[in-house]
């Protein structure tokens, strides 16, 4: 009997304290796009190990920053943020660095970033020629640095990219790109037949990496091809 009373007491105490302890859940959110300043198009991104948006919530010191990831198409959306003022800055991206900005976030806030991508991948074409997948494209770089590498990345998932791939074919350029040159990268199908299996469809995406510290690759949209 004593036990039961004790348990009841604990239960009563535990539940009665609930109300006071509970804060409201996050109600605000932030979403938006990365837009190319010149073309007005979305800037293609990586879903993993890509551009991130660093958010430092005000009112706490020290505070660990939060990092929002960006979708491959260049949009982002975090619908679970606490309403507050934040210092917001995209970091380690594939475009010329932006300054941070202070942003009060209440309700569903929208913030688009207008950016200059390090490299634009122009007239991208990925097609199957015989037993090869051949990608051709031109590069228009916006900074003076060298282009480190260009590559063609393959994955069964549409969010393919350099960090997320089953297979990559890369060329190290280590040179400033020539806007007039048509670059090409190819994947040989027979020698990769255990990775890219006949009868399946895969996504192929062209990428190029600028030689800037912490930079991420710039991409053309992924293309689906049946093998």
């Amino acid at each position: 009997m004593k036990n039961i009373m004790l348990i009841s007491l604990i239960v009563v105490v535990a539940f009665s304290s609930c109300k006071k302890d509970n804060y409201d859940g996050p109600t605000a959110g932030l979403s938006g796009k990365f837009i190319d300043a010149k073309t007005g198009e979305l800037v293609q991104q990586d879903i993993i190990r890509g551009t991130q948006i660093e958010m430092i919530e005000h009112g706490y010191d020290p505070v660990s920053p939060q990092f929002l990831i960006v979708k491959t198409d260049g949009t982002y959306d975090n619908s679970l943020l606490f309403a507050n003022t934040y210092t917001v800055r995209p970091v380690r991206g594939n475009f010329i660095t932006l300054e941070s900005q202070e942003l009060p976030i209440t309700g569903k806030t929208v913030l688009d970033f207008t950016v200059t991508p390090y490299i634009r991948v122009l007239s991208p074409k990925v097609e199957r020629v015989g037993t090869k997948i051949i990608a051709t494209f031109r590069l228009e770089q916006q900074v003076v640095n060298e282009v480190q590498k260009i590559g063609l990345y393959a994955h069964s998932d549409s969010r393919v990219g350099e960090p997320m791939r089953l297979l990559a074919s890369e060329k190290q350029l280590n040179a400033v790109s020539n806007p007039a040159t048509t670059y090409s990268v190819e994947i040989d199908l027979p020698s990769n037949n255990t990775t890219l299996k006949t009868g399946n469809s895969y996504y192929f995406r062209i990428g190029a990496l600028i030689g800037v510290g912490e930079a991420k690759l710039n991409y053309a949209p992924a293309v689906k091809i049946a093998i």
Partner: protein, 627 residues
């Protein structure tokens, strides 16, 4: 009620008597004056400091140092298994944020050594002994700050012990820059070198202090030289808490070079058995260094002893890593899987100066990891280790190759067979009877008779190689925790030679002839006969094969900023030995290069070049980038 009255009374009495009672000295603690007043007391205190020394030995795992307490069950997942040296039989983990931390323990050791430094001047001992204590405590402190600097970059420097006077905030020390931290390490090394004697033993000496400086300065110089390969950004970078300017590289290389040279010209050390008659002898000599470092005292500069079996004393290398056939009742042996990637790095005697990937097919393609195909033309071998016949002796001394002997037992590592019709059965338990003879996929019938590829118990290699270096061959495994007593060499002469050669080649200064000789002397000890030129690539290959599994590779990848480029969606590789039954009645084997079965690609995040600093909420320190 009565009870309460009693309690009240007691309380009253207690409080009334407070002052005098608390004035008594506690009887369950030893006073500083007692322990430091007696040379034996200092010795005991010193033993505790050495125990805390961050030596990456057989008890060092990703959870930290001294993982040999009561139940040290971490599955045998070694730091080497997040490098390109090895895989674990079961786990596919890679470098995690919480791995290899050494923060609280580091500052605990530094506090303990600072307390000792405080009392040295007051001790009733002669000046020589005082100098020795000063040198020894400086060595320990330098060792501790090196361990912190390579993990965290610039850290708070506690140059003297702190006294708590009621204000916790007054005790908070901000981080120094990474450069100041490294300079402090070298300052402490110099203090140790000045004060320590030349006597060899298990404790710090002038030579161990030189060795520490040689290694630490090479680390710092490499960060300065290669830091721009993996630039980071953020507050810690702008405040120079992480990273070094490229301009300081050569000064640090010089520090390393000079420290190495002091050991090399001392005449105190030499390579163990430097001129073997043949590669077989070289392999055995090499293995002997690690099975009993005390027998190689000309080479071992600093040994950490594991004298007794038991909790916090012995270690677990033998139970985790000997091949399954040697288990002797231990349920989970065989968990070290040296990778094909490492095996490929070793030179062939016929092609000195070149990494020699294992060639399995007539066309010589060593980049095809698509697996077995009946259409490919494989080279047939008479047994499962003929394919390595020409390889550097150290491969034979480091790994157990398929079909080689261990404790007088041939260790059978076989992944399957190719049936006479050309179809293969790989990594599946199966058997086939042809004529009167029965063949088993794993080379034998039962799990106690082979050591490869069967996933049974997580006990067999999945790369095709098992482990020999550091393993005790002289007796059967004692199947229990913390029973191994093989000693560990923290500093050995070969590393000093390699440090010297690297400092010369990377800085472009110093004596190239001596440096090239240093590298080639090590190769000759391994049975090579000719010299190869000193280049950065040759030197790094030499480091990988000579120091394999000594917990150096992880830091080499870190300090040379190669981790993120070496590990970008990287698969590790295995070599599958298959019996080719198409060749019957002849007994022939073929080999297939494949990705390690059941493994995932690995990518190193540049932020992992530094560990995160724990507890910034209370210690108020600037966090490292991207944490």
């Amino acid at each position: 009620m009565k009870k309460y009255i009693w309690l009240c009374c007691l309380a009253t009495f207690n409080f009334a008597g407070c002052k005098k009672i608390l004035d008594l000295q506690p009887t369950d603690k030893i006073q500083a004056s007692v322990i430091f007043g007696d040379p034996q007391g200092v010795k005991i205190y010193m033993a505790n400091l050495y125990f805390q020394l961050p030596i990456e030995d057989f008890t060092y795992f990703r959870q930290g140092f001294n993982q040999n307490g009561g139940d040290p069950n971490n599955g045998g997942f070694l730091p080497a298994m997040v490098t390109d040296e090895a895989m674990h039989t079961e786990f596919g983990d890679f470098v995690g944020d919480n791995d290899f931390q050494w923060w609280d323990q580091g500052y605990k050791l530094i506090r303990d050594v600072n307390l000792l430094i405080d009392v040295i001047p007051t001790l009733d001992i002669d000046a020589t002994e005082k100098a020795a204590l000063t040198g020894e405590s400086s060595f320990i402190k330098a060792f501790a700050y090196f361990a912190l600097a390579k993990r965290y970059g610039g850290v708070p420097l506690m140059k003297t012990s702190q006294v708590y006077e009621g204000d916790a905030d007054a005790l908070k020390v901000p981080r120094s820059t990474e450069k100041e931290t490294w300079d402090y390490v070298f300052e402490l090394c110099d203090l140790a070198i000045q004060n320590l004697g030349t006597e060899k033993g298990r404790r710090a000496s002038k030579w161990t202090a030189y060795a520490l400086k040689s290694r630490a300065a090479l680390h710092a110089a490499s960060i300065a030289k290669f830091g721009n390969l993996a630039p980071l950004s953020g507050n810690a970078v702008t405040q120079k808490l992480v990273g070094l300017e490229a301009s300081v590289a050569n000064a640090y290389y010089k520090l390393s070079m000079d420290a190495s040279q002091a050991i090399m010209t001392s005449g105190q050390y030499s390579l163990f058995r430097p001129t073997p008659a043949n590669p077989t002898e070289a392999a055995e000599n090499y293995r002997m260094i690690f099975q009993d470092p005390n027998g190689a005292s000309s080479e071992a500069i600093f040994i950490k002893g594991f004298t007794l079996p038991g909790n916090n004393q012995g270690h677990n290398y033998d139970i985790w890593f000997q091949p399954a056939q040697a288990a002797n009742g231990w349920p989970h042996p065989g968990r070290m899987n040296p990778t094909l990637d490492l095996v490929d790095v070793y030179e062939n005697y016929t092609t000195p100066g070149l990494s020699s990937p294992v060639v399995t097919t007539v066309d010589g393609n060593t980049t095809d990891y698509n697996g077995y195909s009946a259409a490919k033309n494989y080279i047939r071998y008479d047994n499962t280790n003929d394919i390595f016949k020409d390889k550097d002796a150290r491969l034979w001394g480091t790994t157990i190759l398929p079909g080689t002997n261990w404790k007088n037992t041939p260790i059978i590592i076989q992944a399957g067979y190719v049936k006479p019709d050309g179809s293969a059965v790989i990594r599946t338990k199966d058997q086939i009877t042809i004529g009167t003879e029965t063949f088993h996929t794993y080379g034998a019938a039962s799990t106690s008779q082979y050591s490869g590829f069967d996933t049974y118990g997580g006990n067999n290699t999945r790369t095709g190689f098992s482990f020999r270096k550091f393993m005790n061959q002289s007796g059967p495994i004692v199947p229990g925790w913390n029973q191994s007593t093989t000693d560990f060499i923290e500093f050995r002469y070969a590393e000093i030679l390699l440090n010297y050669a690297e400092a010369v080649i990377e800085s472009g200064t110093g004596d190239v002839t001596t440096a090239a000789k240093a590298m080639n002397d090590i190769r000759k000890r391994a049975g090579h006969t000719g010299d190869i030129p000193l280049t950065s690539a040759n030197l790094q290959r030499e480091r990988r094969v000579e120091l394999a599994f000594e917990n150096k590779r992880f830091w080499d990848l870190i300090r040379r900023r190669e981790y993120h480029s070496q590990f970008n969606n990287r698969m590790m590789h295995s070599l599958l030995p298959l019996q080719d039954l198409r060749a019957l009645p002849a007994k022939k084997y073929i080999f297939v290069r494949v990705n390690v079965p059941n493994s995932n690609p690995r990518t190193f995040e540049p932020k992992s070049y530094y560990r995160y600093i724990p507890g910034i909420g209370s210690n108020g320190l600037v966090q490292n980038p991207q944490y």
